[in-house]
Symmetry: D2
């Protein structure tokens, strides 16, 4: 077993496959400064031979991007690849007994039909990993060896309503969730699409994939139900705005019957009492409060007499929504303080 | 009557009270170039004696801001003042027989109790003007002489759902509307608040006044119901983002029973068939599609089998949400093509 | 002669070749609203068959982009093509007796060697048109039939120092000009380059082509000298910043001997006394003062005892730096008030 | 002596006076995570009693801002106050034998006449501290106990040309330096000025204080000359752009006679060979390369045959231009690796 072996080592060796995208760059930044790991190889297909210092000078990293050819020398592999590519690479890493943390959507959905519908790709029912959201599935992560890291929108939405589904049970009768999320444009990756150019997106806002975004089945699954046969109505409208980083989610939850604000607050405080990166805020949160951090802020903005809750969440899509949460998962798997390298 | 008198004149004389704010500046820009009016006086309390060309050089206007002292020489008065101030000035203008178009919230609400609750101010039940939303209340505007110009959020929301309330009747059984709107920061006016500074708002998103914004009773009134005793659930979350102009509203409407997409599309197309500034768009709209125009774009993004509609609207908060709609109202009152000066 | 013929017509017919770029879109917007022209055809190679209303909904234009196949039906042709393409199309338009206004760099430089050095392209010495900067070369424009419209940086720099070169003579002994210009990103065109994406350029500033930008020989030529054998030292550093529109030029001019500030002011006021789009400003100008206008603002910020002048200019790169100046040129050629359609 | 005493301690106690501004917040962030110090008190006059977690939630700091009343319990005091305020507070801290690092301009200028001219304030000739620019004055810092931390523009300019002034001698005959710098708006501090609001500054650029900025005498002094009696011509144009952080300086240097590019490169490489935060870059630098880091990037963009150099520098105004450099100075004074807490 890796864990018993490597815990005796001073530092774990870590490599990143897909290191040249924005999530890969954040992983690089965090892991370079992480006391318990040694950043070994950076693999990046389109940037092979290029220096990190040319692509991301702010990282202060003097490594070179290499071609990944099936190496398995490191103890831990992070994969930050476009959807569909990790499916091919993961099996041999698993066979070699490596800790694998995959940031793509490839291994998130248990239901291959939903995967096919939302990712336009066929996969086997076995291609599923532990869903790496520590605040909900910590025990699974501790005992797991392969982690599928949650999506950025999914993280901001699941964390915002999870206390209403303790043990992923819809215990206080959620009838409907309507979610509108504004994402930073870095969520689209390091991209040359004309509709993501500065001239098109400065001072702009644009919704897309309304009701069909691939994070919908992931959210439903994490909340104990499914997109195919949901136990509550769910509508999700993702938007991109004139910002690089951050996700801001407005969650309107309709309960079957009214609850007191105090009861809701207690539910949230209890649910997250051992979660160092979740902050239940008494005042309105903003993107600015969380960017460049691994925090997810949650504010219960309104509890109405008709059983409607308005919850606002904010996180950094590249950190708590990607690289930060991935390292948090690694820390938990390695038995470290989960905040290591993330404060 | 002004209208019969002034229609014989070649050009109507127009003055703006509160000309130095952002809406006042847009009014100045439009009216300077409007073929049927002569821009006479610009009144601006905090900028008395200053040149327009120093405050807003882009307007290319060589006028000076003057103190308003009860003058009534112009045929038409636009008021673009902070809430509460028009209440004092309007009566003498009305008595002098002037056409008055007020851009504040002072004369919008018929129910003084709602006005008191949402504007923290007492007003008499008589302090109400014709609600100047041409697409819904054209006949009232034609026959009116004083116009209360709609709020910016209110415009973007009412126009997005009005076809579901023909004749302001909830004819297809709307059960709930949940609205999340992103506004440009100019909506807060020409302001020196620290939380609206560039350093605080660049790349930021912030919700505020969740469920308590003063446009809520205005919206409910325009849709034939009231905030006090609503005929459907209504939740509204306003946000400001990292942009100067524009309002982008995501409207999730829950109907009692499902309707066909085609039926909804027909409803919208019919409702707005004579509305030159409303565009029903087949593809997703964006802020960029409408800024610096008087258009309000509407896109029906999703009609689900469970009777849920997802509607997206976009407009320029300073134009269709303020100065543009105000001039559109003036055009209608004067019997001109409503597009005059607005294309 | 076109001019004598078409002046009897009510409206001139105008077409744009290369209408789908940012300058083409601004031309479309202006010409649609211009009282003396009828916008006929919009040609756009990569967008053939697409609707203007899909690409640029804010224009409110219901035309379709067509393929240009040598048509010569219009009276006037604007060309807004990537550098190098107009060289092929212009000869047949000239032969057909059309008024041609080209916004590219193809016909600006008289010296084919300089053209080759800076545009990496061979052209014949005959491929030169009247340089369309009305404030310097009005008489040539009046008598011309083909106009090469100035570059955006070039406009902001030439207009900022031209009064020091009356009749393009270096009359007060300019020894050196050092210019640093910040441009909006739209200056790079409607582009999908990764380095112009929102995620890369938001909150960024980047210099490029230091001392080798293709506008350098154009500037020198307009000031009566040449890049090859300059009569004064010239250094130019272009930058792009976190903005879509506008060019802001800081011009540090070193004179052989000191001059009085009053003398400089008089020189500038006199030089531009008949130029409706040039504003000599007593206070600092900003990009915000000129965007969405055809103005070029000039502020003499500092005159030192050692003969150093610090001049700041601001203009909209798509208007006074491209489409606006092009229409100004057309107006002058047609004998119209040069401000027509531009205020 | 503090240093001999406290070096035996595990951690130095540190307090910040003026902790609630942007530089104070960056100091808080860095010092909270610095292995060799214990952040003790945060003093902030306008925010007394407020929680850091409310003002700057991203810092993840649970301290409260207190009133400063002359306490001297900490080993080290950072002062990040508006100009003029440190002059009053520093003497008693010095008398108490504390290490003092002042980020204001109060103690930078040796010449009280220049201080009076540029800061509009009288100070005694004794009110001068060691100028804390490690790359130029490391030995003075090692032996010093009070440090005046350089200004942000000054840092970006001095570092860009210092290799031409080895030992602060103008050894290769610099005749003139013309500098244009673009700064992020955070440089103006946490401010509610209307001209720094988002609506005014988004997509804007504005120059100010041309040739009269208070960093001019600081730059001249650091380069071995003075603003009053300069040994070379110096012109400085500061600008703010549409960005929060960063300073980008374009430095045009005129030498008496031409030098080879290789000679210049060698000069720079040698000068900075022991400077871990200075990066001589072969390709163009950008603001994005340095924000959220303590790096100052320098690129020699052009060396002309006429002896003109074009140098571009980039740094983060709040880090290498303020808080980062301040901590770098502290590290050097304490005998630590100067990079501690800054990578």
């Amino acid at each position: 077993m890796i864990s018993s072996v490597s815990k005796r080592l001073k530092k774990y060796s870590v490599s990143i496959i897909g290191a040249s995208g924005y999530s890969g760059a954040e992983l690089t930044r965090i892991l370079l400064r992480h006391d318990n790991v040694e950043l070994q190889e950076l693999y990046a297909f389109s940037q092979v031979g290029n220096h990190v210092s040319d692509l991301y000078p702010a990282l202060g990293c003097d490594k070179v991007y290499n071609q990944y050819s099936g190496e398995t020398e490191s103890d831990i592999y992070f994969l930050a690849l476009p959807h569909g590519e990790a499916l091919q690479l993961v099996p041999s890493l698993v066979q070699a007994g490596k800790i694998v943390i995959d940031l793509s959507g490839d291994f998130r959905l248990k239901n291959p039909d939903e995967h096919k519908e939302f990712y336009k790709q066929v996969k086997s029912p076995e291609a599923v990993m532990t869903y790496g959201m520590p605040e909900l599935f910590r025990d699974d992560i501790i005992s797991g060896k392969t982690i599928s890291n949650p999506g950025c929108y999914a993280s901001s939405i699941i964390l915002g309503v999870a206390p209403l589904f303790p043990g992923t049970k819809n215990s206080i009768n959620v009838q409907a969730i309507n979610c509108t999320s504004t994402s930073g444009i870095s969520g689209a990756g390091r991209s040359s699409k004309i509709e993501l150019s500065f001239s098109e997106m400065s001072e702009n806002v644009r919704a897309y994939k309304v009701g069909v975004h691939q994070h919908i089945p992931e959210i439903m699954q994490a909340l104990g139900t499914s997109a195919t046969n949901p136990s509550f109505d769910f509508m999700f409208t993702p938007m991109i705005g004139s910002l690089v980083r951050g996700i801001y989610s407005i969650l309107n939850v309709q309960l079957e019957s009214p609850v007191e604000e105090e009861q809701i607050m207690e539910l949230y405080r209890n649910f997250y009492k051992h979660a160092p990166f979740i902050r239940i805020r008494d005042t309105m949160t903003e993107i600015k409060h969380v960017v460049h951090t691994n925090f997810c802020d949650i504010h219960i903005a309104r509890v109405t007499g008709s059983g409607s809750l308005l919850i606002v969440t904010a996180l950094d899509n590249l950190l708590k929504g990607a690289a930060g949460q991935a390292v948090q998962n690694m820390n938990i798997m390695l038995g470290l303080d989960e905040r290591t390298g993330l404060l």
